[in-house]
Amino acid sequence: MAEPTTRHSPLAGAADRLARVTDAAGGAIAMAEVPFLTQLDLRLDPKGPAAAALGVTLPTHACTSARSGDVDVLWLGPDEWLVVGPPGAAERLAGQLRPAAGSEHVSVVDVSAQRTTLLLSGPRVRDLLALGCAIDLHPRSFGPGDCVQTELAHAPVVLFRRDPGFLIFVRASFAAHLADWLVDASVEYTGIPT
């Protein structure tokens, strides 16, 4: 589904600056907003009937995810997941989940606009994130598909290890702060003072 052209993503105004970092970093770091992804906050019993509605086993190991087609399901808590899909998929995905619940108590809340997403990649991306995130992101402890709710640049984020790098889900109100922080943190690689 095409998005109405009147929509503004939280980091539309930062796109140029993020692109300049990517250019100036000479391949060390790349960063860009991935806007308008579908995000559903899902609360249910992982043993209940709705758990299978997305055609994927809901991950029950802390800080892992599962993928089915174009949908990622990120573990946020023992009974909470973030369902992430392409733009415009909220109704489709909610429509799969709600009927499957039957009489079970299931909460599906569309939070697509609650957070926007940044994709960070490049050989120095872990060094960059380490400047503001206390989580060990080394592949030995945080591999592809792993996710974690944590703080980056003092802002609450969900970090998701997703090729080719890291997807960072950040609340819309914190997004500009995080973008500013990332641009400044990249100075070591870009040489562009902020």
Binding site: G13, V109, Q114, A130, R171, H177, E188
Partner: protein
């Protein structure tokens, strides 16, 4: 410019092809790349670096590392930095410094350098890249671990550098990281070690601007290996502080590592074998050794033999009896420690070794205990610690000798930086002090920048002797972080200015900025405060905005309100328990104002509850309390009522909110949403509807925080800007006026609507606010209910929210101003009736007014009280808190 006459012809790790110019105490010198400021000064024959802080005695370079107690310098160029030991300052071209007697001077301008912090994780952290640390790191890396090695020097090697020995290479391994110029200064729980890396300090003015000058490393390690070596300690004897008195190991380092002779003719005073190596190395470099005095009867025959082969006199059982020279040692008198003839020896250098103390600061910070080792004559880690830490290294046997016989105890120093002498310790123990902690606080021994690295054990030893205790029982003082001084700039890192705390903005922030709004901080949010027109000040702008809302139509960005979706079969039960009023009776499509209290009955937050569906509600919170209210709900659900089938989801940023306010707001909303019945009958107060607004799907709420006819429009955050523009366009014909938080505050205060956190302070009940109507009498229970039956919450003289009208109609009472009963102040203490919580200019009332919490306030309505402001007592009349439209005639337009 003077030559480096004390530089050896060859040798050392300095690069003689790269001379560096520097200035010290106003004189120009040269040194080489690889020098420290201390080694470069010594190469130029400069020992004395300043005078001591308390006694003004000349002092010189005493050590060759971080333990330096004496040679503090103030860096002047390229950027001022106070109190750095010259032994830790790497020389760079253009360095300008001067010696300090204690305190330094902070820069009078902002530091242009970058500072930052980084997190790191490893299996094994090795602190110290000397021979033991390098061996541990190699072993850990070859076992497949992620290894970090840190060392405070510019290159690995540790004691090998000072001994002039080859340094083993670390194996190439992508998981082995060596951090040089890095000092571990704090060891916290769960093997969390904090270090500071000096990345570009050594480059002086040539440091690249895009690299942080210093970086704080926050390292979490599965295991820590401490290979931090040992610090040599001195002995207490008269005039042991003269420039030219130096630790023997330091002198050896200057010769071997820096190619510097620290003097021409040296006397060596030792209690152990280690100083012999210094004597031999100095001798080989051309320093004449007048004698080695070994306090031990019999000394060390093997070392004495080696000395004899080189023609060096060794005097066993001898001690220093006297040091001659003030600005610089000129001669030393040796005498058998049991008396006998004195020997006067000309010397410009007196090398001292009183033994070696294992560097145990980090081990101690980690929670490890130290034990006194008779064989070492020193305290060492006892090997058992609650953290996963191992200490490695070799040791030098020593003897427990602290003072040399004879001489004036008032010039026998234990702590050179703090000017603490044996006489001071005698005075402390003479008053009855028996603990080294007490002695430390009384004398200040060990409290300087060096934290007693060379003096701590010596102090304990002298005190033990004075009170006749065993040093092992007396112990040491406590080691606390930081191990070495760390600049505040490094600790602050990038968390300064706007990055000190995240700034949260709404989807409309760019519009607010473009239209000149100053911003008000509300929690982490920036909210537009008001929109000044041409030539308008704040008062004028706010009066204009208020008039628009009361007389025409106005709009504001209310997106920062906290929003929580509460869903589940028991959602209504949860809300009934958390709000003071009944929510379960709310019909789908209806909205209710609600108050939440803590168990003590005091107001926690307020907001609206909208029923979206039978089992789904949308709750709003105050801007600053959004996270706290969600936590509050989760806490009750998870700890007290886990049986409730309810889920709470934050949707604060899912929805953007635009309030359209004023008598003309109905026309504006009708124009935006032609399909929506906006009639008084069709869309009543405190209801909500799904609607399409200018083509954007959203929700419309008939909620008013101003008392006027008003609508709150919710659309997705992505659509906020389009909606805002559409509202502006739809309202243009009515002169729609954007307004900020100040106008919002005025409008709500005119109606007596409290702001939780501004008009309340955690001691205010709903009844105090006049919100008794919102406290259910029917519900069996809710959080806070029981407290309303306490005598204290029903006192008639509780502070209650009332309005205040200054009699002159013009005075704007300061928020926080107190109120008193009488027109003249009685003798203190003056009893206060209460205080002003909010005060504004009102366009609608044509005057100033205020809200206040006043003792028994509702019974005082109509009374005149007084606000002491400076020397005046301003008369004000107490009124109802509802000052505008008390009958509520305006809310339906």
């Amino acid at each position: 410019m003077t030559g480096q006459e004390f530089r050896t012809d060859r040798g050392g790790l300095v690069d003689r092809s790269r001379p560096l110019r520097f200035r010290f105490d106003g004189r120009d010198y040269t040194g080489y790349e690889g020098d420290t400021l201390a080694s470069a000064l010594l190469a130029n024959g400069v020992h004395r670096t300043g005078a001591s802080i308390r006694l003004g005695r000349p002092r010189g370079i005493f050590s060759a590392g971080v333990e330096e107690p004496n040679a503090l310098v103030q860096i002047e160029e390229p950027f001022p930095e106070p109190m750095l030991p010259a032994t830790t300052v790497e020389l760079y071209d253009g360095l300008v410094a001067r010696g300090l007697g204690g305190r330094g001077r902070l820069a009078d301008r902002p530091d242009p350098a970058r500072y930052d912090a980084i997190h790191a994780h490893c299996d094994v952290l090795v602190v110290g890249a000397g021979p033991a640390g390098l061996a541990a790191a190699s072993a850990a890396a070859s076992a497949g671990g992620r290894v970090i090695v840190i060392d405070d020097q510019p290159r690995p090697g540790g004691s090998l550098l000072g001994a002039g020995s080859p340094v083993p290479e670390l194996p190439p391994n992508p998981e082995l990281r060596l951090l040089t110029r890095t000092t571990a200064f704090g060891y916290y729980d769960d093997n969390y070690v904090v270090a500071v890396e000096r990345r570009t300090n050594h480059l002086g003015a040539n440091a690249p601007a895009h690299l942080s000058r210093e970086r704080i490393w926050r390292i979490r390690a599965r295991e820590v290996v401490l290979a931090t070596g040992a610090h040599e300690r001195s002995l207490a004897f008269a005039d042991n502080d003269r420039p030219g008195v130096m630790l023997a190991g330091a002198a050896r380092t200057y010769v071997n590592r820096y190619g510097v002779r620290p003097g021409r003719r040296a006397v060596v005073m030792t209690t152990n074998d280690s100083a012999y190596a210094a004597a031999l190395d100095l001798h080989a470099a051309g320093v004449e050794i007048a004698a080695v005095a070994d306090l031990r009867p019999g000394g060390s025959p093997a070392w004495a033999q080696r000395c004899a082969e080189r023609g060096i006199d060794v005097l066993d059982g001898h001690a220093v009896a006297r040091v001659i020279g003030e600005d610089r040692v000129s001669a030393v008198t040796l005498r058998r420690k049991d008396g006998g003839p004195a020997r006067d020896l000309d010397a410009d250098l007196l090398l001292v070794s009183g033994g070696w103390n294992p560097v145990a600061a980090l081990y101690s910070q980690a929670g490890g205990r130290l034990t006194y080792d008779e064989e070492l004559g020193a305290f060492r880690p006892d090997g058992s610690c609650r953290q996963a830490v191992t200490v490695v290294g070799t040791h030098t046997p020593g003897i427990a000798v602290w003072t040399l016989p004879g001489g004036d105890p008032a010039t026998a120093f234990v702590d050179l930086q703090r000017d603490v002498t044996v006489a001071d310790l005698e005075r402390a123990t003479g008053t009855g002090m028996r603990s080294v902690e007490h002695v430390k606080r009384y004398t200040t021994a060990g409290t300087a920048h060096d934290q007693g690295k060379t003096s701590g054990t010596l102090t304990s030893g002298v005190v033990a002797g004075l009170i006749g205790a065993e040093i092992g029982e007396l112990g040491t003082t406590t080691f606390r972080p930081p191990y070495a001084p760390v600049s505040f700039a490094a600790l602050a890192g990038r968390d300064r200015g706007l990055r000190y705390d995240p700034v949260r903005v709404t989807a409309l922030h760019a519009w607010h900025e473009a239209h000149g709004a100053p911003f008000e901080n509300v929690g982490q949010w920036k909210r537009p405060w008001y929109y000044p027109g041409d030539g308008e000040d704040m008062v004028t702008a706010v009066l204009r905005e208020c008039r628009a809302a009361r007389e025409g139509v106005a709009m504001m960005d209310a997106s920062t309100l906290g929003k929580i979706e509460v869903g589940g079969p028991d959602a209504a039960v949860l809300l009934d328990r958390l709000y003071t009023n009944m929510m379960s009776t709310l019909k789908v499509g209806a909205v209710r104002y609600g108050v939440m209290c803590r168990p003590d009955g005091m107001v926690l937050d307020d907001g609206t509850v909208s029923r979206l569906a039978e089992d789904r509600f949308l709750v709003t919170t105050t801007t600053g309390n959004a996270a706290a209210v969600l936590d509050w709900m989760e806490e009750w659900l998870q700890t007290e009522w886990p049986e409730l089938r309810v889920h709470c989801t934050s949707v604060t940023e899912q929805w953007a909110t635009v309030a359209v306010v004023g008598p003309r707001s109905r026309e504006v909303v009708a124009a935006l949403s032609p399909g929506l019945d906006v009639s008084r009958e069709g869309f009543g107060f405190m209801t909500w509807r799904d609607a399409v607004l200018a083509g954007i799907p959203g929700r419309v709420f008939r909620i008013s925080f101003s008392g006027e006819l008003a609508y709150e429009l919710n659309v997705s955050w992505w659509d906020a800007a389009a909606l805002w523009d559409a509202v502006l366009a739809a309202g243009a014909a009515h002169g729609i006026t954007p307004y900020g938080t100040e106008t919002m505050h005025v409008l709500r205060a005119e109606k007596g609507y409290p702001i939780i956190g501004q008009d309340t302070d955690g001691t205010v009940t709903p009844y105090d606010l006049g919100l008794g109507w919102a406290v259910s009498k029917k519900k069996p229970d809710f959080v806070g209910k029981r407290s309303f039956s306490r005598a204290d919450t029903s006192r008639a003289d509780r502070k209650q929210l009332v309005g205040l009208l200054p009699d002159d109609g013009r005075t704007l009472l300061p928020e926080g101003a107190h109120l008193v009963e009488t027109p003249a102040l009685p003798e203190p203490p003056v009893p206060t009736l209460g205080h002003v919580t909010s005060a504004y200019h009102s366009a609608a009332l044509g005057r100033t007014f205020a809200l206040a919490l006043v003792r028994g306030g509702r019974d005082r309505i109509g009374e005149r009280v007084f606000a002491p402001l400076g020397d005046d007592l301003v008369p004000v009349t107490i009124t109802s808190s509802v000052l505008y439209d008390p009958e509520g005639a305006r809310r339906d337009g």
